[in-house]
């Protein structure tokens, strides 16, 4: 930021630039794109969890008028793509457009019908008969881990990856502990559930031999690189565009078979080919999350100081190792983040990721951290209860203190300066914690099951090139790019590799560029989500876009500002150091000489001879910069929940929910609040309602939105959010990532609050979601155990 171009827009509640189109139905989501001669795909999906495909009878379907073709894996020669990993002993799995020879989960696509309309395609799909030879369904991760039956025949076992961590002297820590608490925790499977289903539309241009894939993806750059490999086409002939995307939450951050499929079909048929998932397909095939069993034990001294932590993490990663993140992503991140924001020197963990006959697991908001926070925050409350300490006091004495940063955790993650203790204190103040405890006492006096729960956590965001966003994953996710340019009309465009899908990046990134250039925010057009617009990018995930793309926006904005001032200084016969830009007008201090950006743009590009020849070679108003924060930065928060459990229905109601968080400097406080709100409510869903349920044959029982319950406005409390709003020291602009945090702390806080509400029955919530049925069982067991 230049001296007198102090930030005007950064930090302001700027109304979003993307809103007018989205509010008037003028947005452009993938399924909204209508091209002439489009062909539509319907898929025949497996109704077996594990079976060999014996036959696919397509005769009746093929005879249906309007059917263009029916395809199985035999029709394509593309070789499978593998998510590779540097982790020792990792076993990869191949990803193909359609199942080859066998199916490994219910919903895996076997055959594709291409027809003139989706109606006809679905009619035809219904006429296709698949012959199966069933194989044993490996649905339980413990059984799958030990089974001789292999999901992938070339593997040595169904364990795709395993690893042990150890740091410090755990044995001594446990031997010397005054209190040891342990439990077996279970966080059931969930699905991201974006309201827009996945949708892919491939348009192969025969003349140019080039493919455009419109994809509801978070990672157009990753998909472009993958498709270039699978299709054996040069990257410049494969363009992946993520237009308006209707939410992702991680579920749209991986490569999907259908993206390969429509691309192959469009190239084969020479016509645009579209596939849009229906909700059943989404619930069966979009990557899922959690599904971990975590046996963990915490050792604490008599004063409540944490001494040591041990954990065994068994992750059910489903049938395939997802591209590009691999099967290591979720369970390894649980182990990585389990030591939390606390002073905890001695830690050991064993992680096993097992393939089962279920939907592949992949990234989901928080990745590993929601389960890690759930386990550790429960253990801390269990220890506090044993010692008779208040949960807030227990955290206060164990959080990494302000003078201890940078702090290396037991898993090796390094926390940079972040407001761990400050967030705890701010949350208590914001909630008026003593008054809340008084309210709890009054409620209990009246016979109500009222509980208060606290959870603190830290997460690594804006991860740079020295780390991998997924453990062992070889692709670089540590840099982002921005190109800022002023054209001959004086209009400003800023082009990014990230892909906004609800985060409002068209606004926040424009705020940064506009502040750097000294122009109004709506004068900056932000381009994102288009692989052809940048040389390399991955996309938007892992709370990285504000930090990485925001940093790149600062750098390229500054570079273009310098070019503008250089040109303007020549035109005004002034010194560039004496010039300022405000509201798009360049003026010389102390004089009345001014120029508009349009005048500079016109002069630079259109007015021949305006500048001397030696200046012109370098004189474009354009700059591309990359930003790499190297390690990343630590976002932290404390969540406090107040809940009430109905003693008759066992339904949990969240009465109050407050977050105090440190996401560094806020670019747009309104957008930050919105991100936190959304994250909290997904965390409430994970804690209370959302569960993907399979039967013993791997059939998905939660196959509609009636069975898979997401929170509506009626189940959601008023949400309170407080910010420290202190610039992070380690990132350009002082930003920290914050898109996921709401989902990390909420399940832990709610689990603690329910446990507190049921404390008169000595019930520990160790399984989420805490559905009425589960609470009913716990209460019944507790009461029967007493008699």
């Amino acid at each position: 930021m230049q001296d007198d171009a102090r930030p005007k827009l950064i930090g302001s509640r700027v109304q979003r630039l993307e809103d007018p189109r989205l509010l008037t139905g003028a947005g452009g989501f993938v399924d909204d794109i209508l091209l002439a001669h489009t062909l539509h795909v319907a898929l025949v999906r497996s109704d077996h969890a594990h079976a060999r495909i014996l036959s696919v009878d397509v005769d009746a379907a093929g005879a249906l008028p309007g059917v263009i073709g029916i395809y199985t894996a035999d029709d394509f020669s593309a070789s499978p793509l593998h998510a590779t990993s540097r982790m020792k002993g990792y076993q990869s799995t191949g990803i193909t457009a359609l199942a080859e020879g066998k199916v490994r989960f219910v919903g895996e696509a076997i055959a594709a019908v291409v027809a003139e309309s989706r109606y006809i395609a679905e009619d035809a799909a219904g006429l296709i008969t698949v012959g199966y030879a069933p194989l044993p369904d490996l649905v339980d991760s413990c059984i799958a881990a030990a089974s001789d039956v292999l999901l992938h025949e070339h593997h040595e076992s169904n364990i795709l990856v395993s690893r042990k961590f150890a740091r410090g002297d755990v044995t001594e820590a446990f031997a010397s502990a005054a209190v040891r608490v342990k439990d077996s925790f279970r966080f059931h499977r969930k699905t991201p559930l974006a309201i827009e289903n996945r949708s892919y539309f491939a348009d192969f241009n025969k003349g140019k031999q080039a493919l455009t894939l419109y994809s509801s993806t978070q990672v157009p750059g990753v998909i472009r690189d993958a498709l270039a490999e699978v299709l054996a086409m040069p990257g410049h002939s494969v363009r992946v565009v993520a237009p308006d995307v209707g939410g992702g939450f991680g579920g749209k951050a991986s490569l999907y078979p259908e993206e390969i499929l429509v691309s192959l079909l469009s190239r084969t048929l020479g016509q645009p080919v579209k596939w849009t998932s229906d909700r059943l397909e989404d619930l069966l095939t979009t990557s899922q999350a959690f599904d971990e069993t975590i046996d963990a034990e915490l050792a604490v001294d008599k004063d409540g100081h944490l001494l040591g932590l041990k954990a065994e993490i068994l992750g059910d990663v489903g049938a395939y190792s997802i591209y590009p993140w691999t099967a290591a992503l979720e369970p390894m991140q649980v182990a990585g983040f389990l030591p939390g924001p606390y002073q905890l020197a001695n830690y050991q963990a064993e992680v096993v990721a097992v393939a089962t006959n279920k939907t592949p697991a992949g990234p989901y908001r928080g990745v590993g951290r929601p389960a890690a926070a759930f386990v550790l925050e429960r253990l801390i409350d269990m220890a506090a209860q044993r010692l008779g300490l208040d949960p807030v006091d227990m955290r206060r004495r164990n959080l990494v203190q302000p003078d201890q940063f940078p702090y290396r955790t037991g898993s090796g993650i390094v926390w940079d300066q972040s407001g761990f203790t400050e967030c705890l204190e701010l949350a208590c103040k914001g909630m008026n914690y003593p008054a809340l405890l008084a309210e709890r006492s009054a409620a209990r006096q009246a016979g109500r099951w009222f509980g208060v729960g606290v959870a603190s956590y830290a997460e690594l965001t804006g991860i740079g090139s020295r780390m991998s966003a997924a453990p062992g994953m070889p692709i670089n996710t540590g840099t982002e790019t921005a190109t800022v340019e002023i054209d001959a009309s004086g209009a400003i465009r800023a082009t990014f590799g990230v892909a906004s899908h609800g985060q409002g990046l068209e606004t926040t990134l424009a705020q940064i560029v506009a502040d750097e250039l000294g122009v109004p925010v709506d004068g900056v057009q932000v381009i994102h989500g288009d692989s052809a617009a940048v040389t390399h990018s991955t996309g938007t995930y892992a709370s990285r876009s504000a930090v990485l793309a925001g940093g790149a926006a600062h750098l390229s904005g500054q570079a273009v500002r310098a070019k503008v001032l250089e040109a303007a200084a020549f035109m005004l016969e002034a010194d560039a150091d004496d010039l300022n830009i405000e509201d798009g007008i360049i003026s010389e201090r102390g004089t009345n000489k001014t120029l508009s950006l349009a005048e500079v743009g016109r002069a630079v590009y259109s007015e021949m001879g305006r500048f001397p020849l030696e200046m012109r070679a370098e004189l474009d108003l354009r700059a591309t910069k990359f930003y790499d924060p190297e390690f990343g930065t630590t976002t932290s928060a404390t969540h406090i929940a107040a809940v009430e459990v109905d003693p008759e229905t066992f339904i949990v109601t969240v009465k109050r929910f407050l977050v105090a968080e440190d996401c560094g400097r806020l670019i747009n406080p309104m957008i930050v609040d919105g991100q936190v709100h959304g994250g909290i409510v997904q965390g409430i869903g994970a804690a209370l309602y959302e569960e993907v349920v399979h039967d013993q044959n791997g059939q998905a029982l939660s196959a509609s939105l009636v069975d898979y319950v997401a929170p509506s406005a009626a189940e959601t409390p008023k949400l309170e959010v407080l910010h420290l709003d202190t610039a992070a020291l380690g990132t350009l602009g002082g930003y920290r990532g914050m898109g996921e945090g709401g989902t990390i702390g909420a399940p832990a806080a709610i689990a603690n609050a329910i446990t507190d509400a049921l404390s008169h029955l000595n019930i520990n919530i160790s399984e989420l979601p805490a559905t009425p049925e589960r609470i009913y069982r716990l209460v019944t067991q507790a009461i029967e155990g007493d008699t």
Binding site: T24, I195, N197, H501, V681, L705, S712
Partner: protein, 169 residues
């Protein structure tokens, strides 16, 4: 071939006469036949509410409605509620309060909220939450949506009380 039937539907004030398969969903008719892609499809089983439109002024799930059932009826979609540069009261409030993120559920949310404003009954925030509970949003956590609807409703009630002709939706 399935025999097509003639239907006449008024959408956002324009009347369309088409021959249409009896099984064609209203969502597909609006989106593909009329190009009104503002109405979104989220679940096709009537739960998520993204496809909500106003059918003769009453909120309805376009994904559970056959086009032939809308024959002779009047439909308002999000495209009929306001436009860029001339947003409706509700659209303005949604923007002011950041009541949308990805924007996919927004057209359905606006249709339900429009009905709340038309009913013109004073509602508490809890009652607004109940009234919006048929529309799922995964981005906003609903907090800002409640703020937007609450403020729009207050202004609507205020304008009714003072008799001014404020644009309703």
């Amino acid at each position: 071939m399935i025999r097509k039937r003639p239907i006449t539907i008024t959408v956002n004030g324009s009347t369309y006469a088409r021959d249409i398969e009896p099984r064609r969903l209203l969502t597909d008719f609006l989106r593909e036949d009329l190009g009104l892609t503002g109405t979104h499809v989220g679940c096709e089983h009537g739960v998520c509410g993204a496809c909500t439109v106003l059918l003769d002024g009453v909120s309805a799930r376009a994904c559970l409605c056959l086009s032939v059932q809308a024959d002779g009826r009047d439909i308002t979609t999000v495209e009929g509620m306001g436009e860029i540069g001339a947003l409706s009261l509700l659209q303005e409030k949604f923007r002011k309060h950041h009541a949308l993120q990805c924007g996919f559920c927004t057209p359905g949310m606006l249709a339900t909220a429009h009905e709340i404003l038309m009913d013109a009954a004073p509602l508490t925030d809890t009652e607004i939450r109940e009234a919006l509970s048929g529309n799922l949003c995964r981005c906003t956590g609903y907090e800002h949506i409640v703020h937007a609807v609450s403020e729009a409703l207050k202004e609507r009630l205020g304008s009714i009380a003072t008799g001014s002709a404020l644009n309703a939706g």
